[in-house]
Amino acid sequence: MAKVKSLADLKRMKEELQSKMDLREKSNDPEGLVQIKVAMATCGIASGAKEVMEFLIEETAKRGIRTVVTQTGCMGYCYAEPTIEVQIPGKEPIVFGDVDIKKADQIVEKYIKNGELVDGIIPVNYKTLD
């Protein structure tokens, strides 16, 4: 291990190490962040949910939006896979269907950034556990 030689060194180290702990920090305060759940059951994955999830994780980080992206089980909307649920702090969760990378991009740009709704909303018909 290299020695930490100064306070500036330490701060630099912290910056680098922080991103690896980011996921834990965020889950400390999920209510304050945009939460995205990607339905990752067999049907979802077959329709490309994995790629969408990776896109969301990477792009929201790149675009400086603090999000928690988690996978979840089948939401039951098999006709509209991949489906994702987006919850902006203080708002009701909204489910979007048929989310490919292009749609995911739109959701990030329009809904998450500006609160504008985009096509493909599915009415929520389930309850989430606390």
Binding site: M1, A2, K3, V4, K5, S6, L7, D9, L10, K11, M13, K14, L17, Q18, S19, K20, M21, L23, R24, E25, K26, S27, N28, P30, A39, M40, A41, I57, V68, V69, T70, Q71, T72, G73, L129, D130
Partner: protein, 597 residues
């Protein structure tokens, strides 16, 4: 460290490890490997989550799912269901005992809602054996700030301003203590960390050292900087093997990074830490006794003054602080005294860690702001009394403290209020008692402990506590008199007034406070020879109700001393003179014919 999509945190505190959390970790890792997810899921063993009642705890992030009472064989299902399919394993989630609701996120659990974690900030969050995770959470930033931007005096002023008081029990202002040590000039000074946690039922210091050892090392270095000491010593009891192991790892890592050693962060300041192992004597929690033990002498206290700040370890100025006190320091430096002193009550700032034990639903480790009421701690965080029994008392401050009763439930807990109520903060042990606990026996239990632990130096403590114990024993055997109660009170006062150190000065507290709050119970022991709680065996009598007894002979066949007589199909009788009160007959009786009187 790679960037993982999911983190699985497993509690690696002593309690959860005893329930096989290491095997859980191994099984989880095997299952992850079998599914080829090594690059996506990180498994981390952390320090204590505090919710020991339901351990072992496994927490999955980022969705913050809190699994309780996990077994090694559950690992595969957790990976298969939660990680791969994204479905929560319902049977392993916490169920609120009150409203039977399943709770997935620990934030919504009553146990965590009211807590503010400062000293325990990293426990159950970082891997204590990885200094990088500590640094990622602002670790050593406070030390860096002190060395680069603050003078020793401004650091001391900041700590004084924060209002931090010693968490080991005394409640002495920490900043003031540091200032005394700083003012004494000497060629060599020492910083000592008191990790000799001796109160029965208290385990916060152990948990901090196991879960966040670097926070203590960092704070010791800060203290060294303020007083001009380049040596730190951690005095820890040898019966804390896991804490010792993790400290050793932490010290090694800090040295490798140059965060301990010479010229720390290029500031020219040198500081290093070593460890001393104690044999687990209660009196060695007292600072002068602790210092003697470190010097290889008998662990006996000496008269203060001279205070350790003038003449301590090896006759040099020494500052001794408790583990929890140190754990607060880096946060105060990073966030500022004015942030810290907004938390807590008027004269007690910040938070306090309490170890909840006894007849309470949520046994565990909690950290709440000073000034939280006992009711909130016991009923909201602690989840109330076990099996729906009635609350009777809570013993705070261990063998040096006293008991608090129902009338104190709404008292805000802080250093001064507890003393006013006849108890003390101590190190933060809270033992909850219900209607089945006999207060005389409870006082006797603590006296047994102090008799064992008294170092023997002062006569009042050595002999007086023994006599107190004999009197209490006499009362629980049903031979006590009213005069004995007066004698108990007088003797207690004498011991308190004439003992040298904190051990003797506080050891009669359990007697005095039970006499004060439960005088009726003492009276019923000495006058009516009855123990309402049914704990004093000598005062109990097992009796068979002839109306209910059908003469099945089951009790007499199970009696180990053959003291039950009676023919088949006729009512049986217990010979009280031979009965050893083991309770075997009552347990076996199918007709509820046997009762205690």
């Amino acid at each position: 460290m790679e960037k993982y999509k999911m983190h699985i945190l497993i509690c690696g505190g002593t309690g959860c490890r005893a329930s096989a959390s290491e095997a859980i970790q191994n099984n989880l890792q095997d299952a992850i490997k079998a599914k080829g997810l090594e690059d996506e899921v990180q498994v981390v063993m952390t320090g204590c989550f505090g919710f020991c009642e339901k351990g072992p705890i496994v927490k999955i992030l980022p969705d913050n799912t809190f699994y309780v009472e996990v077994k090694p064989e559950d690992a595969e299902e957790l990976i298969e269901e939660h990680i791969i399919k994204g479905r929560k394993v319902m049977r392993l989630l916490y169920v609120d005992p009150e409203n039977k609701e399943t709770i997935s996120d620990s934030k919504h659990m009553g146990f965590y809602k009211k807590q503010i974690r400062i000293a325990l900030r990293n426990c159950g969050f970082i891997n204590p054996e990885n200094v990088d995770e500590y640094i990622a959470r602002d670790g050593y930033a406070a030390l860096g700030k002190c060395l680069a931007e603050m003078t020793p005096q401004t650091v001391i002023d900041e700590i004084k301003e924060s209002g931090l008081r010693g968490r080991g029990g005394g409640g002495f202002p920490t900043g003031l203590k540091w200032e005394f040590a700083a003012k004494n000039e000497a060629d060599q000074k020492y910083v000592v960390c008191n990790a000799d946690e001796g109160d029965p039922g208290a385990f916060m210091d152990r948990s901090i050292l196991e879960g966040d050892p670097h926070s203590v090392l960092e704070a010791m270095a800060i203290c060294g900087y303020t007083m001009g000491a380049d040596k730190g010593v951690i005095y820890i009891r040898a019966e804390y093997p896991l804490a010792i192991t993790r400290l050793k790892v932490a010290i090694k890592q800090a040295r490798e990074y140059g965060l301990l050693g010479n010229d720390i962060l290029g500031s020219g300041f040198n500081f290093d830490v070593e460890m001393r192992y104690g044999a687990g004597a209660f009196v060695c929690g007292e600072e002068t006794a602790l210092i003697h033990s470190m010097e290889g002498l008998r662990g006996e206290p000496t008269v203060k003054p001279p205070f350790p700040a003038e003449s301590g370890y090896n006759g040099k100025p020494t500052n001794v602080n408790n583990v929890e006190t140190f754990a607060n320091i880096p946060v105060i430096i990073n966030k500022g005294a004015s942030w810290f002193n907004k938390i807590g009550s008027e004269k007690s700032k910040g938070t306090k860690v309490f170890a909840l034990a006894g007849k309470i639903n949520n046994v565990g480790l909690i950290e709440v702001p000073m000034g939280t009421t006992l009711r909130e701690v016991i009923y909201e965080i602690g989840g109330g009394i076990k099996d729906g029994k009635k609350f009777k008392a809570v013993q705070t401050g261990g063998p040096s403290g006293g008991c608090l009763t129902e009338k104190h439930l709404d008292t805000p807990i802080d250093f001064d209020n507890l003393i006013a109520a006849g108890s003390m903060m101590g190190s933060g042990g809270m033992i909850v008692m219900d209607e089945d606990d006999c207060m005389v026996s409870m006082a006797k239990f603590y006296l047994e402990f102090t008799v064992e632990e008294s170092c023997g130096k002062c006569t009042p403590c050595r002999v007086g506590n023994k006599r107190l114990h004999e009197l209490l024993d006499k009362i629980t055997l049903g031979n006590g008199t009213r005069e004995d109660l007066d004698l108990l009170r007088n003797l207690s006062t004498v011991i308190k007034d004439t003992s040298l150190c904190g051990l003797g000065q506080t050891s009669p507290n359990p007697v005095l406070s039970t006499l004060e709050n439960f005088y009726d119970e003492y009276i019923s022991h000495v006058e009516d020879h009855k123990c309402a709680a049914g704990q004093c065996k000598a005062l109990m009598q097992y009796v068979i109700d002839p109306e209910l007894c059908v003469g099945c002979t089951l009790c007499s066949r199970n009696c180990p001393v053959d003291c039950i007589a009676g023919e088949r199909k006729e009512a049986h009788v217990i010979d009280a003179s031979k009965c050893i009160k083991c309770g075997a007959c009552m347990e076996k009786c199918k007709f509820n014919a046997i009762s205690i009187q």
